[in-house]
Symmetry: C2
Subunit: 399 residues, 2 copies
């Protein structure tokens, strides 16, 4: 039997999904599993979006333009304008979800063996995309102690080599919920100019910022039109994760042309989903107000619950719908597996994502988990109660 | 301004799509363009598939399983059973179109710098996927003189090196329309065993075989369960190119596990399209009979038209809906551009794909084009008439 590729063998399994078989097993035993492991909200997709599928008049489900449907690109330009991001429709390349936008950006800016700086903990699938693109992620370590703010410039400079081609932020951040300040964004901009780097910004949680904080887009920054690449998706904005529609936005024409060539190879993003995403641009504002309130209350429910559990360390994140929290356990990976395999509380349990997979530095995050606030207040409250009860019984508990 | 990646700069533009701006310009001038350049059929998508979008009852358009929806994988196993391909649903990984199935197969079987044998001319986007995967395509040259049959074993052996990891066929073939015989498939099987290679087979045109010929799947072959990887898509089968649903099928568990890790990184294929593709499995048989008859008649219309044009060389292909034909021109790329920019016949023109982009060997195919029989008989007949008139006026005509 021929050997599989080395890169396939070394490709990390997703820490968000690798426990899925245990969850399925638990469900087969009749247990209810609260999914706090994945950013799959229970929020309804806007009716206007789901109605677009119902009301189509398409006879031939044809290929679209490789850069996305024109009318959708126009719609996106309008959407960005509402967020003070001024881009032309030609500067937007529609992708098959944010995932593809990230892969195209990596492949357009970096060659095999090149390096990209990313604050850790980071969205774990960046590892997978880096393996696929044969590039190396160099982590900038951030800490729970500062709520995962960026370290100072010197700490970042220390990680730059002659192979460094880009720096990427996820803002608001998955998995920490941190929202980078305008001042931090300016600092990264100046480093990008100083070291001639591209500045990639994954902003799929733009709509989810709390406590009066303000979101700064990479395309709000002045003087780096040739370096700034915005990566986006409709998955979270409209609770439409199954739609697989994202985009790459930049003023740099060379990057657009390159990304389009990768886009031409795969022909086009899904057509029906783009039409639905176009319809979603007209989602009424009260939808977002309602969703925003829901996430706020869920976050409160989680942190009120966590406050009652001894030994848990973490703080309310200002954005997205995730928090990284430190648990009093020997190993979060073991604990999360145990929760699914060996534990239940009144026939219910919870699934969380072990945080080590979000760090590139060996040994970090081993007693941390990522909790996604994607279920209703009652479920989040109950989940934290289950977490508390589980910690009391877990054999690997630290005291 | 930072430089874009070398691989992005060297990534080939799709010869199928690179003339799109000229076509758009021609349309802006009010000209009708017959699209023979792209495999976009005008055939209606089965009603049962399009109705699945209309009749959904989904409130939250959620992520699906990374390997595809279970019910769809079951449906696919049933579909393959009808084609004497016996696979379990667990041996099927649903992908975002055939494109992704190919990328996952390349990344799972090959490392950067490894080589894959592919008969040329080949589906041009394989070049793009090879660049993305940092692997090298080594062509096995086939010729119009034999209708693009495989050369003998020694010609294939001569291209194998210690970096060769796989061989890939597209069967029925895009762009030649050739259908590999059972004997040719057996020959490739024995070479794969002899040189310890994976055998990848892109079979998206399975349903399109004419003249009583028979299609042999890589999964019909015995004794290579660990080497055989079937790559597939619903795009052509149901005239649903915009759906972006494909799959990778293999009995090799290591390959499935690897492909799933790449699949987890991008989370999941589009949900609504999978539900529609599931519904499409129950497309009534008379749909395929009707479609088959249409393509047959279109092929006849094309070759009846070509027979009237002096200096054209080509033969009726037994499969798919493409033909590579040789034209009496200095350069097919120039000719195809001229057709869009500088020519019209009664305000109509045609768009074809220059064939050089389908060859890896420099200098081959420069006077050939790929014609897709994707329009109705009247349009195909009219297109060949336009081609004949154009050749009479083209300044670079060869005599």
């Amino acid at each position: 039997m021929p050997n599989i590729a080395h890169r396939a063998a070394t490709m990390p399994a997703s820490p968000i999904r690798k426990l899925v078989p245990y969850a399925e097993e638990a469900k087969r035993k009749g247990r209810k599993v609260y999914h706090l492991n994945i950013g799959q909200p229970d929020i309804k997709t806007p009716k206007v979006m789901m109605d677009a599928f119902r009301n189509h008049e398409i006879d031939v489900l044809a290929y679209g333009h490789s850069a996305g449907l024109w009318e959708y690109r126009e719609g996106l330009a309008r959407y960005y304008g509402q967020h003070n991001i001024n881009v032309d429709k030609e500067e937007i390349l529609v992708t098959t979800a944010g995932s593809e936008a990230i892969i195209f950006a990596l492949m357009a800016t970096m060659d095999p063996g090149d390096e990209i700086l990313i604050p850790e903990p980071f969205y774990t699938n960046y590892n997978g995309f880096a393996v696929e693109a044969s590039v190396n992620i160099v982590p900038i370590t951030c800490s729970a102690d500062t709520g995962f703010a960026l370290p100072d410039d010197d700490a970042i400079r220390a990680r730059i080599t002659d192979r460094t081609k880009a720096i990427m932020l996820c803002n608001p951040n998955n998995p920490t919920g941190y929202v980078y300040t305008a001042e931090e964004m300016e600092r990264i901009k100046h480093l990008a100019i100083e070291f001639d780097l591209f500045f990639l910004s994954d902003e799929v949680y733009r709509e989810f910022v709390y406590d009066g904080k303000k979101h700064t887009s990479v395309l709000h920054l002045e003087g780096i039109d040739d370096r700034a690449i915005l990566l986006d998706s409709v998955s979270k904005r409209y609770s439409a994760c199954g739609a697989r529609v994202g985009c790459l936005v930049t003023h740099n024409k060379d990057i657009l042309d390159s990304a389009l060539k990768f886009g031409q190879a795969r022909l086009c993003p899904p057509t029906m989903e783009q039409l639905a995403a176009l319809a979603a641009i007209d989602t009424p504002p009260d939808y977002f107000e309602e969703v925003h309130g829901k996430y706020y209350r869920r976050r409160e429910a989680v942190f009120e619950g966590l406050a009652k559990i001894p030994g848990v360390v973490g703080q309310r994140p200002p954005g997205a719908f995730y928090a990284i929290v430190k648990l009093p356990v020997d190993n979060a990976d073991k604990f999360c597996t145990w929760l699914l395999k060996d534990f239940h509380d009144n026939n219910e349990t919870i699934m969380m994502a072990p945080a080590a997979g979000f760090y590139a530095t060996e040994g970090l995050g081993e007693d941390e988990v990522r909790i996604a606030f994607v279920l209703n207040v009652e479920s989040m409250t109950r989940s934290m109660e289950i977490l508390g009860n589980a910690l009391e019984q877990y054999p690997g508990k630290k005291h």
